[in-house]
């Protein structure tokens, strides 16, 4: 197992390096001129040149790359053209909201996927119906889902807030985790917890919808396959209850593909986070990217890409380990 972890970890580092390279290449091909944008409209040519030099944009690419990697190593991502702030600082400010949202969504997707998957597995006629429903659900673009949810749950029912992360009559605690729900629980302010949860719910559902469906479908498929395995028959021959057979024998062995799918979906999730955060005015990295795009604030976009990319890579590292847990055979390979 240790060997496996080590191998996967090494692989992860390699991928992260690759990510850095890709982002650098992107940085090298941007059309608009960050230096000019930084010094602003009325600045003189000299000022621009100076800035360009300061940013090292006048050096040859290899030099720039070395410089870039160096700065990256020290966690320096340049400063945003828009906020005039260290991108790292900005990310630090925006990341927690996104992670809270993403984790909530993954959590929903996990339970939802698991529940639906079990419901779906082996279900003959009923399964068919649900399957069509899933396919239908999987076809709705995120922005539509989000908007409908707002209209229904905010405008019509008035159950849930439409946007933002917390009602503005609350004082937001800083730290320790910067996850509002958790912090508020730690600080023992239940009404803030509830408020935070309410704000969390709609965007989380919007974000979780597609992953839930994908996971459910995969799980159902592999459950059906596993149900036909000999060891499931063995389990039945032991006189176990169907439920026990399903949960103790089938589920774990079927979880592999579902886990992979889960990991995959996180990627798509991170993609649609921009749309969702924009619609729900969720103060996270997605919003940050959205605003940065509108301002073609490329250092910011690159920083965000690096962060999201790294997150994804790391999560999938965890997924790999989870799979090794689910299937001991992997460990020895």
């Amino acid at each position: 197992m240790a060997a496996l972890v080590l191998r996967r970890f090494a692989a992860m580092l390699a991928v992260l390096f690759g990510l850095a390279v890709i982002v650098f290449v992107l940085q090298a091909v941007i059309p608009s001129d960050p230096a000019r944008a930084m010094v602003g409209a009325s600045a003189s040519k000299e000022a621009v040149e100076a800035k360009r030099h300061e940013l090292g944009y006048d050096q040859p690419l290899p030099a720039q790359f070395a410089d870039y990697m160096g700065r990256l190593a020290q966690g320096d991502l340049q400063s945003s053209l828009r906020t005039r702030n260290e991108v790292v600082e900005d990310l630090r400010a925006f990341a927690p909201a996104t992670f809270e949202l993403a984790f909530a969504a993954m959590f929903l997707a996990a339970i939802g996927g698991l529940g639906l998957g079990l419901l779906l597995a082996g279900g003959g006629r009923a399964g068919k119906g649900i399957r069509l429903l899933l396919i239908g659900g999987a076809s709705i673009p995120a922005f539509l889902t989000g908007l409908l949810l707002i209209v229904v749950f905010y405008s019509w029912l008035g159950w849930l807030p439409a946007s933002g992360r917390v009602g503005d009559n609350f004082v937001v605690p800083d730290g320790p985790t910067n996850f509002l729900v958790i912090d508020s629980i730690l600080n023992g302010t239940p009404d803030l917890t509830i408020d935070a949860l309410q704000h969390l719910l709609l965007p989380a559902i919007t974000l979780a919808l597609l992953p839930t469906l994908a996971i459910a479908r995969t799980l159902a498929t592999s459950l059906d396959a596993v149900q036909k395995e000999d060891y499931v028959r063995t389990a039945r021959a032991k006189g176990l209850k169907e439920r026990t057979v399903l949960l103790k024998h089938a589920l774990r062995n079927a979880s592999g593909p579902a886990l992979t799918m889960g990991g995959l979906q996180v990627g798509l999730m991170l993609g649609s986070i921009v749309v969702v955060e924009r619609i729900f005015a969720w103060p996270g990295i997605g919003l940050y990217i959205d605003q940065s795009i509108a301002y073609s604030d490329f250092p910011a976009i690159c920083g965000a890409t690096l962060l999201l990319g790294a997150t994804y890579v790391f999560l999938n590292f965890l997924v790999d380990l989870a799979q090794a847990w689910a299937d001991p055979r992997i460990r020895t390979v």
């Binding site: 999987a138 922005f143 976009i301």
Partner: protein
């Protein structure tokens, strides 16, 4: 048991049979994986020649039909994508303009029809590009193996282990928003899938005795790859392709929704609904029509993909 003991030849699940003799009841084919107690493996026996070209094409027929419909639909569009109708701006749906007019006074119905064509064929374009690039790389890697395989697969894995949509966003943001760039970006992040699949299938098939038998039969390398390996990879690739169309349509819509798609006045569904959102309450048809069109396209694609999936392949987990 060492993993390298060659006494047990690796086999893919391909040894399914649909023979009169091999009905229920465990055949004595003890040491043949896949043939053991078929009853319990229970996979629907693949009908003879399940992997042969024609079955694939048959499965694809509805797809082609739909594509054709989408292709010619705009012919029936009453207006061009940029024509300004006499109805004026933001006119409610009428018998003349089924989906009303947008903020410029263009016929939303026409724009949606044309937009659907754009989205659909953009999606197909990305997929074909991805399949060609990925398929080629995968086939080469799979067929030749060794160092080449390793290098190619490392690159592929790198892309696979990064979040495609995020990457796409960055790429488009870098190259500047335009339909072309969006498609390029998506292709860049999409091909690795196909490389993986093709390579995997080819590797698996190459490990099967039939490949060795063919080699012993004195079959040339090219013929080996073309006739004995690639056809086997076809079904899974087709399945993945068909399942991807929906995803891509949504991905495209998402990108153009955040302003990374075709610039106006191109009738891009995502962009149309994004820019139309502000009219949602006064003139709902402006954003709803294109959004619904996206959902419709994706739905059609997913349903077709699903049916193709069930017809061609039970193993696909993607």
């Amino acid at each position: 048991m060492s993993t390298v003991t060659p006494d047990a030849p690796p086999t893919t699940g391909l040894t399914e049979g649909a023979l009169p003799v091999e009905g229920p009841g465990a055949p004595a084919a003890a040491k043949v994986p896949g043939a053991t107690s078929k009853l319990w493996r229970g996979r629907r026996p693949i009908t003879p020649g399940a992997l042969s070209g024609d079955t694939v094409w048959h499965a694809l027929i509805p797809f082609f039909v739909l594509s054709f419909v989408i292709l010619v639909a705009p012919v029936f569009a009453p207006y061009g994508s940029t024509d300004v109708t006499s109805a004026g701006a933001l006119h409610a749906p009428t018998s003349g303009a089924w989906f009303g007019t947008d903020e410029i006074g263009r016929d939303v119905f026409s724009r949606v029809l044309i937009g659907m064509r754009v989205s659909w064929f953009s999606a197909l374009g990305v997929i074909f590009l991805g399949t060609i690039i990925g398929g080629l790389i995968g086939a080469v890697a799979g067929a030749f193996g060794g160092k080449l395989d390793m290098v190619l697969m490392r690159i592929t894995d790198l892309f696979l282990s990064l979040p495609a949509p995020v990457l796409a966003i960055a790429v488009v943001a870098a190259m500047g928003p335009s339909l072309r760039n969006t498609l390029i970006a998506l292709s860049i992040v999409w091909w690795p899938w196909y490389a993986r699949i093709v390579r995997g299938e080819v590797r698996a098939l190459a490990a099967r005795p039939h490949t060795e038998a063919a080699r012993l039969a004195g079959v040339s390398r090219t013929r080996l790859v073309l006739k004995h390996l690639l056809p086997g990879a076809m079904a899974p690739v087709i399945v993945t392709m068909s399942l991807d169309v929906g995803n891509l349509i949504l991905a495209l819509a998402g990108l153009s929704f955040i302003g990374l798609g075709a610039p106006p006045p191109a009738p891009e569904l995502g962009a149309m609904s994004a820019r139309g959102l502000q009219y949602l309450f006064g003139h709902p048809w402006v954003p709803i029509a294109p959004a619904a069109a996206v959902a419709l396209l994706a739905l059609a694609a997913n349903l077709l993909g699903d049916s193709i999936n069930r017809r061609l392949d039970q193993r696909t987990t993607r």
